[in-house]
């Protein structure tokens, strides 16, 4: 299993008056190459679960093993290291830096790895062409449309060639046709052997034929796990 969560709890602001329990006793395993959709209303804990799977922070209690690395009690430095080795992120709000070009945005994860400019551009060119956005690589990100931004964001998520891609509401700001294209693109990554974890309440995502499993979250608990597609 590439992702193993066992009795995972997450409590924000632990011990403080504004303490919030976001996840309760989550048990979840995901096999390599699987495509899993987390479904649930706002506040159900989808983003928190994605953040733990994405090595952004560890659980408050329980055991979390991602890509064979046990991340439950790791300091930030190691979480960051595993995140850049294992995870590619696609965000709901794209999170592109508007003043940078598409090329610069896509290659951002490679800078602290010491990858040379030539190698960075070579890798980015390959991905941008594959995602049909190569012609926009020198444009500032702020000049791109929503669909183009999300394609660029997928390219950025893949630039490190991560085995796991985590996408948080990837179609939330896209209209029907564009949303379908983006889900198709993401689903296509499954064919490359990558594991995909998507959160969405968009039926288009949950109903995509390549989704292997749908995990329903309510109030921080897994209510139901279904076979997808």
């Amino acid at each position: 299993m590439i992702i193993e969560l066992e009795s995972v709890n997450k409590i924000y602001n632990l011990g403080e008056p504004n303490e919030v329990a976001a996840l309760h006793d989550i048990d979840l395993t995901v096999a390599e190459g699987e495509m899993v959709c987390l479904r649930g209303p706002s506040g159900s804990g989808k983003t928190t679960l994605l953040s733990i799977i994405g090595c952004i922070f560890g659980p408050t209690s329980g055991r979390a093993t991602i890509g064979g690395k046990r991340i439950s009690r790791l300091p930030d430095h190691f979480l960051t290291r595993y995140r850049r080795e294992l995870i590619g992120f696609v965000f709901q709000h794209f999170n592109m830096l508007g003043h940078l070009t598409v090329l610069d945005n896509v290659t951002l994860p490679l800078l602290p790895l010491g990858v040379s400019p030539r190698e960075r551009e070579k890798r980015a060119d390959a991905l941008l062409s594959k995602l049909a956005i190569g012609h926009r690589k020198h444009f500032p990100a702020r000049q791109l449309s929503g669909g183009e931004l999300q394609r660029a964001a997928i390219a950025r998520a893949l630039i490190n060639n991560p085995p796991i891609v985590v996408a948080d509401e990837p179609t939330a700001h896209l209209d029907g046709q564009l949303a379908r294209e983006i889900v198709d693109l993401l689903a296509g990554l499954k064919g490359e052997g990558r594991t995909l974890i998507l959160s969405s309440h968009d039926p288009l995502v949950a109903g995509h034929p390549r989704v292997d499993r749908i995990v329903d979250l309510r109030d921080g608990r897994i209510r139901h796990a279904d076979a997808g597609g």
């Binding site: 983003t47 994605l50 953040s51 994405g54 952004i56 922070f57 930030d76 430095h77 960051t80 290291r81 995140r83 850049r84 992120f89 965000f91 709000h93 999170n95 830096l97 003043h99 940078l100 610069d104 951002l108 994860p109 490679l110 800078l111 602290p112 790895l113 010491g114 990858v115 040379s116 400019p117 950025r156 490190n160 948080d168």
Partner: protein, 395 residues
Amino acid sequence: MSAFFGRFLNILDYALGSLMRNFGKNCSIFILFTLVIFLFASFQLMTGSLTVLAEKILVTAPDITVQQMSAGRQVAIAEGAKEKLAGILGVKKVTERIWGYYFDEATGANYTVIGLTPPEGARDDASWPGVSEGRLLLPHDRGKVVVSRDIRDTLGLGDRRHFSLFRPDLSMASFETVGTFAEKLDLLTADVILMTLADARDLFAIEPGLVTDLLVTVANPQELDTIAGKIAGILPGVRVITRNQIRKTYNVVFSWRSGLGAICFLTALAAFAIFAWDRASGLSREEVREVGILKVLGWQTEDIILLRFCESAVISLLAFLTGFLLAWIHVAVFHGTLLRQVLLGWSVLRPAGAFTPQFAFADLLLTFSISVLPYLCATAVPAWRAAVVRADSVI
């Protein structure tokens, strides 16, 4: 290219881009920092230049100057003391001098009048200041003077060579300028009117047989202090000033004035540090978002600190080099116009000569140490504050 070096170059490249993107904010810091460095480096270069010049000028200073004191004030000394001094073993020569000040009401300037009987062959005598135009005084000259270019200008002589000064009884003494001091000696000669001993005595109405100082030349400079001690023993009530004491006085004066500059610099630096801190610590929403995105994409906290460090280092190093270069140009080309009054006094007649900046690695290092390093330290905490923005802030 190692990954470590590659990482550094990549982050430096990103930092340069970031600086350009926030051009307005960074430009204001750069300009202020450059100004602070410029002021301090100008003071340093000018003080160094003056110290070197003073050393050169000291060659023309007498080995020992002897002055008569009465009630703690200087009074005229009898020429008869000359024989006593000449009799001391090791004394090579004793020269009489009249040194006084003449206030010119018309111009508001104070001239230093020096009356000396020039030795035969003064042209070859290193203890005599050189002239750039005309000639030196000759032993039997009467009514002839050598003045500085500044005095020629102040008196409005133009092409004329004659001018008059008032004696104490308000009668006029006329003089003809026969030479102009070399500009390189401006620090010493800017306000000097050099004339023969007899003319100075006549101008100040000093009684025959009296002078203001006796100048002693010693045969062996190593014995300077010993001979100074002997003079003090033989002539009680005199003040004995050695060349080393004059050197110390120069150093004290320049150091004191430079110290004033240093205080101004430190005040400016402190104000700038507060400004830099304020600018660097105020993280905008956009900056927080940028750091959050970088962290979620795999940038470590130390990568963000390195990024901020590169930004600060580029600004401070550029400001340091620019400030120092401007200071050099200010001193070498513009003769320290902005600060020369602070270092050279407020007299009407100030030395107009050029400063020659002295390059000293220690000065460069000192300026660097008290400007760039504090700036980097001042921006370290804001950099750390930026770097600890949580990755999940953008989720």
